[in-house]
Protein backbone atom coordinates (compact mmCIF):
# COMPACT_ATOMS: atom_id res chain seq x y z
CA UNK A 1 0.00 0.00 0.00
CA UNK A 2 1.15 3.51 -0.71
CA UNK A 3 1.07 6.44 1.69
CA UNK A 4 2.05 10.08 1.73
CA UNK A 5 3.30 12.10 4.69
CA UNK A 6 3.32 15.86 4.81
CA UNK A 7 5.09 16.62 8.04
CA UNK A 8 4.13 20.28 8.29
CA UNK A 9 0.47 21.13 8.69
CA UNK A 10 1.18 24.87 8.58
CA UNK A 11 4.09 26.88 7.21
CA UNK A 12 4.19 30.63 7.83
CA UNK A 13 6.63 32.62 5.71
CA UNK A 14 7.26 36.25 4.87
CA UNK A 15 6.70 37.53 1.37
CA UNK A 16 9.73 37.22 -0.94
CA UNK A 17 11.30 34.59 1.32
CA UNK A 18 12.03 31.07 0.03
CA UNK A 19 9.85 28.16 1.11
CA UNK A 20 10.05 24.37 1.13
CA UNK A 21 7.04 22.14 1.73
CA UNK A 22 8.02 18.62 2.64
CA UNK A 23 6.54 15.41 1.28
CA UNK A 24 7.61 11.84 1.90
CA UNK A 25 6.00 8.76 0.42
CA UNK A 26 6.10 5.04 0.87
CA UNK A 27 5.51 2.57 -1.89
CA UNK A 28 6.92 -0.77 -2.90
CA UNK A 29 6.62 0.01 -6.59
CA UNK A 30 7.49 2.85 -8.94
CA UNK A 31 5.42 5.93 -8.37
CA UNK A 32 4.14 9.01 -10.05
CA UNK A 33 4.18 12.05 -7.77
CA UNK A 34 2.11 15.21 -7.83
CA UNK A 35 1.67 18.50 -6.05
CA UNK A 36 -1.70 20.23 -6.05
CA UNK A 37 -2.74 23.62 -4.70
CA UNK A 38 -6.15 24.47 -3.31
CA UNK A 39 -7.20 28.09 -2.89
CA UNK A 40 -10.06 28.83 -0.47
CA UNK A 41 -13.43 27.49 -1.62
CA UNK A 42 -11.96 26.05 -4.81
CA UNK A 43 -11.01 22.67 -6.21
CA UNK A 44 -7.48 21.35 -6.64
CA UNK A 45 -5.13 22.71 -9.29
CA UNK A 46 -2.15 20.71 -10.52
CA UNK A 47 1.14 22.48 -9.75
CA UNK A 48 3.55 19.91 -11.12
CA UNK A 49 4.11 16.20 -11.59
CA UNK A 50 6.91 13.68 -11.74
CA UNK A 51 6.34 10.73 -14.06
CA UNK A 52 9.89 9.81 -15.11
CA UNK A 53 13.11 11.36 -16.35
CA UNK A 54 14.71 14.40 -14.76
CA UNK A 55 14.30 14.41 -11.01
CA UNK A 56 13.91 18.19 -10.90
CA UNK A 57 10.45 19.14 -12.02
CA UNK A 58 9.31 22.68 -12.73
CA UNK A 59 5.69 23.66 -12.40
CA UNK A 60 3.43 26.64 -12.60
CA UNK A 61 3.70 29.83 -10.56
CA UNK A 62 7.46 29.43 -10.09
CA UNK A 63 7.26 26.22 -8.05
CA UNK A 64 9.60 23.28 -8.48
CA UNK A 65 10.07 19.92 -6.80
CA UNK A 66 12.81 17.34 -6.65
CA UNK A 67 12.21 13.61 -6.68
CA UNK A 68 14.64 11.81 -4.39
CA UNK A 69 14.21 8.07 -4.68
CA UNK A 70 16.71 7.14 -1.97
CA UNK A 71 15.00 9.41 0.55
CA UNK A 72 11.51 8.73 -0.85
CA UNK A 73 10.85 12.44 -0.89
CA UNK A 74 9.29 14.95 -3.25
CA UNK A 75 9.69 18.34 -1.58
CA UNK A 76 8.15 21.44 -3.12
CA UNK A 77 10.15 24.67 -3.29
CA UNK A 78 9.78 28.26 -4.37
CA UNK A 79 12.67 30.74 -4.15
CA UNK A 80 10.50 33.78 -3.46
CA UNK A 81 6.87 33.56 -2.37
CA UNK A 82 4.08 36.05 -2.94
CA UNK A 83 0.98 36.83 -0.91
CA UNK A 84 -1.07 35.13 -3.62
CA UNK A 85 0.67 31.81 -2.86
CA UNK A 86 -1.29 31.56 0.38
CA UNK A 87 -3.21 28.31 -0.03
CA UNK A 88 -3.24 24.66 0.96
CA UNK A 89 -0.81 22.38 -0.82
CA UNK A 90 -1.29 18.66 -1.26
CA UNK A 91 1.26 16.05 -2.21
CA UNK A 92 -0.08 12.91 -3.89
CA UNK A 93 1.21 9.57 -5.14
CA UNK A 94 -0.07 7.24 -7.84
CA UNK A 95 1.45 3.83 -8.49
CA UNK A 96 0.46 4.15 -12.12
CA UNK A 97 -2.25 1.57 -12.18
CA UNK A 98 -4.94 4.17 -12.58
CA UNK A 99 -6.14 2.97 -9.24
CA UNK A 100 -6.36 6.15 -7.27
CA UNK A 101 -4.32 9.06 -6.05
CA UNK A 102 -3.35 8.92 -2.41
CA UNK A 103 -3.09 12.37 -0.87
CA UNK A 104 -1.16 13.70 2.05
CA UNK A 105 -2.98 15.63 4.73
CA UNK A 106 -2.00 18.96 3.22
CA UNK A 107 0.20 21.89 4.24
CA UNK A 108 -1.31 25.32 4.76
CA UNK A 109 1.11 27.92 3.42
CA UNK A 110 0.52 31.36 4.87
CA UNK A 111 2.48 34.19 3.32
CA UNK A 112 2.74 37.31 5.45
CA UNK A 113 3.84 40.85 4.65
Amino acid sequence: AQSVTQLDSQVPVFEEAPVELRCNYSSSVSVYLFWYVQYPNQGLQLLLKYLSGSTLVKGINGFEAEFNKSQTSFHLRKPSVHISDTAEYFCAVDTGGGNKLTFGTGTQLKVEL
Binding site: F34, Q42, L44, L46, G98, G104
Partner: protein
Protein backbone atom coordinates in the same frame (compact mmCIF):
# COMPACT_ATOMS: atom_id res chain seq x y z
CA UNK B 1 -10.45 23.03 -23.69
CA UNK B 2 -13.18 22.85 -21.09
CA UNK B 3 -12.11 21.54 -17.71
CA UNK B 4 -13.90 19.20 -15.38
CA UNK B 5 -17.30 20.62 -14.55
CA UNK B 6 -19.33 19.78 -11.48
CA UNK B 7 -22.89 20.63 -10.60
CA UNK B 8 -24.40 21.95 -8.50
CA UNK B 9 -21.80 24.10 -6.79
CA UNK B 10 -23.76 24.09 -3.55
CA UNK B 11 -26.37 21.67 -2.26
CA UNK B 12 -28.30 21.80 0.99
CA UNK B 13 -30.18 18.69 2.08
CA UNK B 14 -31.95 17.46 5.15
CA UNK B 15 -30.75 14.43 7.10
CA UNK B 16 -32.22 11.27 5.60
CA UNK B 17 -32.66 12.70 2.11
CA UNK B 18 -30.75 11.71 -1.02
CA UNK B 19 -28.20 13.87 -2.84
CA UNK B 20 -27.13 13.59 -6.47
CA UNK B 21 -23.92 15.21 -7.65
CA UNK B 22 -22.83 15.40 -11.27
CA UNK B 23 -19.50 15.54 -13.05
CA UNK B 24 -18.45 16.03 -16.66
CA UNK B 25 -14.87 15.03 -17.42
CA UNK B 26 -12.46 16.61 -19.84
CA UNK B 27 -13.17 15.53 -23.38
CA UNK B 28 -11.35 12.30 -24.12
CA UNK B 29 -10.82 11.32 -20.50
CA UNK B 30 -12.42 7.99 -19.74
CA UNK B 31 -11.68 7.79 -16.01
CA UNK B 32 -13.60 9.69 -13.38
CA UNK B 33 -12.73 9.78 -9.70
CA UNK B 34 -14.72 11.04 -6.73
CA UNK B 35 -13.17 12.35 -3.53
CA UNK B 36 -14.66 13.61 -0.30
CA UNK B 37 -12.99 16.49 1.50
CA UNK B 38 -14.51 16.81 4.93
CA UNK B 39 -13.29 19.30 7.49
CA UNK B 40 -10.34 17.87 9.35
CA UNK B 41 -10.31 14.60 7.39
CA UNK B 42 -8.36 15.53 4.29
CA UNK B 43 -9.07 14.10 0.85
CA UNK B 44 -10.63 10.66 0.98
CA UNK B 45 -10.97 8.52 -2.13
CA UNK B 46 -14.57 7.52 -2.81
CA UNK B 47 -14.97 5.92 -6.23
CA UNK B 48 -13.24 5.33 -9.55
CA UNK B 49 -15.12 4.77 -12.79
CA UNK B 50 -13.56 3.86 -16.09
CA UNK B 51 -15.28 2.94 -19.35
CA UNK B 52 -18.62 2.82 -17.58
CA UNK B 53 -17.55 0.40 -14.88
CA UNK B 54 -16.84 0.90 -11.20
CA UNK B 55 -13.18 -0.07 -10.85
CA UNK B 56 -12.50 0.69 -7.22
CA UNK B 57 -14.12 2.21 -4.18
CA UNK B 58 -12.79 3.62 -0.97
CA UNK B 59 -13.78 2.82 2.58
CA UNK B 60 -17.30 4.27 2.44
CA UNK B 61 -20.65 2.64 3.18
CA UNK B 62 -22.85 1.35 0.34
CA UNK B 63 -25.14 4.36 0.57
CA UNK B 64 -22.43 6.13 -1.41
CA UNK B 65 -22.85 4.97 -4.99
CA UNK B 66 -22.63 6.26 -8.49
CA UNK B 67 -22.43 5.50 -12.14
CA UNK B 68 -20.71 6.53 -15.32
CA UNK B 69 -22.65 7.20 -18.48
CA UNK B 70 -21.67 6.33 -22.07
CA UNK B 71 -20.40 9.90 -22.58
CA UNK B 72 -18.11 9.34 -19.54
CA UNK B 73 -19.92 11.84 -17.34
CA UNK B 74 -20.62 10.58 -13.87
CA UNK B 75 -23.09 10.84 -11.04
CA UNK B 76 -22.50 10.38 -7.33
CA UNK B 77 -25.48 9.47 -5.19
CA UNK B 78 -25.54 9.64 -1.44
CA UNK B 79 -28.57 8.03 0.19
CA UNK B 80 -29.89 8.43 3.73
CA UNK B 81 -27.80 11.54 4.30
CA UNK B 82 -26.12 11.99 7.65
CA UNK B 83 -24.78 15.18 9.17
CA UNK B 84 -21.19 13.93 8.76
CA UNK B 85 -21.69 13.68 5.00
CA UNK B 86 -21.35 17.45 4.88
CA UNK B 87 -18.22 18.05 2.83
CA UNK B 88 -16.75 19.28 -0.43
CA UNK B 89 -17.08 16.54 -3.04
CA UNK B 90 -14.46 16.72 -5.75
CA UNK B 91 -14.54 15.01 -9.10
CA UNK B 92 -11.46 14.45 -11.24
CA UNK B 93 -10.80 12.95 -14.64
CA UNK B 94 -7.63 11.56 -16.18
CA UNK B 95 -5.75 9.38 -18.51
CA UNK B 96 -4.25 6.86 -16.05
CA UNK B 97 -0.81 7.91 -14.84
CA UNK B 98 -0.93 11.44 -16.18
CA UNK B 99 -2.33 13.18 -13.15
CA UNK B 100 -5.83 14.13 -12.41
CA UNK B 101 -7.66 17.32 -13.35
CA UNK B 102 -10.11 18.33 -10.68
CA UNK B 103 -13.35 20.21 -10.86
CA UNK B 104 -14.24 23.00 -8.45
CA UNK B 105 -16.36 20.70 -6.34
CA UNK B 106 -19.85 20.51 -4.92
CA UNK B 107 -20.30 21.76 -1.38
CA UNK B 108 -22.87 19.49 0.28
CA UNK B 109 -24.40 20.67 3.52
CA UNK B 110 -26.63 18.32 5.48
CA UNK B 111 -28.85 19.96 8.08
Amino acid sequence: EAGVTQSPTHLIKTRGQQATLRCSPISGHTSVYWYQQALGLGLQFLLWYDEGEERNRGNFPPRFSGRQFPNYSSELNVNALELEDSALYLCASSFPGYGYTFGSGTRLTVV
